[in-house]
């Protein structure tokens, strides 16, 4: 298989969420370190810090986080839902808001509003856009790096019960990614704790235009 074929295959697999895990295995520290490189050496606007990241392997904490994720809705009215078991992975990586207010202004908004308000996404919309993009890029780097290392992954948007998550992690939680070993005996869509329930999966169409 050529490098391109391998990359195409890995990238395609990396889009799908893993819903169950083999928790008998441990991720080697060498791989953890590479995953940390992925979230810390990826591009960000003006190479600034927008987030901090928690790498969580403490099972008790992971299970407590998972309990807050009862947001996969299978019926709207009356509401019927289940949890997001991608958060039960061997490793749960959580992105949280983090700004350095000691920096000098580097954008027009920061110069006009001051460094604190200029970095506040509720006041300066472009600051929120920059933050979202920075986390999106970092999470993308993390996701593909994990797959290149042979792991499976699953994103969780971390908006449900967000206050509880923030209290647990002592930070403003913005996004989470479960990373770990797939349970090879199971369909990837089976709920980790409820093997009888399979999550649906959807396809997307991304329009790509060549302009030569």
């Amino acid at each position: 298989m050529s490098v391109n074929e391998l990359l195409n295959l890995t990238i395609a697999k990396s889009q799908h969420c893993q819903r169950n895990w083999d928790l008998s295995k441990n991720i080697p520290q060498e791989d953890i370190d590479t995953l940390k490189t992925a979230v810390s050496k990826c591009p960000a606007k003006q190479n600034r810090s927008f987030y901090k990241v928690a790498f969580i392997q403490n099972r008790k904490l992971i299970e407590n986080i998972h309990k807050t994720t009862d947001s996969f809705v299978v019926q709207w009215e009356p509401r019927l839902s289940t949890t997001n078991p991608q958060t039960l992975a061997n490793l749960l990586v959580v992105f949280m808001r983090n700004r350095n207010y000691d920096e000098l202004a580097r954008t027009e908004a920061e110069a006009a509003l001051g460094i604190i308000d200029g970095k506040d996404g509720s006041i300066n919309y472009s600051a929120k856009v920059d933050e979202d993009r920075a986390i999106g890029i970092a999470a993308g780097y993390l996701n593909i790096t994990a797959h290149l290392l042979g792991y499976k992954t699953g994103f969780y948007d971390a908006q449900h019960n967000n206050d509880s998550l923030c209290n647990m992690l002592d930070g403003e939680v913005l996004l989470a990614l479960g990373i770990g070993f797939e349970d090879t005996s199971r369909n990837r869509r089976e709920h980790h704790e409820k093997p009888y329930f399979k999550f649906p999966t959807y396809n997307k169409v991304i329009e790509i235009k060549d302009i030569n």
Partner: protein
Amino acid sequence: MPKRQLYSFIFNEQQLDPYTAMSLVGSKVNSIKNVIAPNMLDGNITEEGDPSLSSDGLTLNVERIWSDTAYNELMSVTTIQEIIDHINALDFVSVQNYEFIDV
């Protein structure tokens, strides 16, 4: 006795994926939807393999196992023929096959 549910629907237009196609029909047939969702969560209805779409994206094939409880609940609110008639009355899809077989 548990039942194996087999159904095939034919769509007028190409569908993006099996679950979008299933949701499209399910959203129009409340009598089925309100039985399926809670029973899937409770494990009384389980998928057999993965639902599939034909290569042209027009034919959806689904196979599930229903417990006695789930099947009886469905039969308490509707009949197989009513389900088929309801789906055939939709303007974007028709039923090629819809059956329950004793497992």
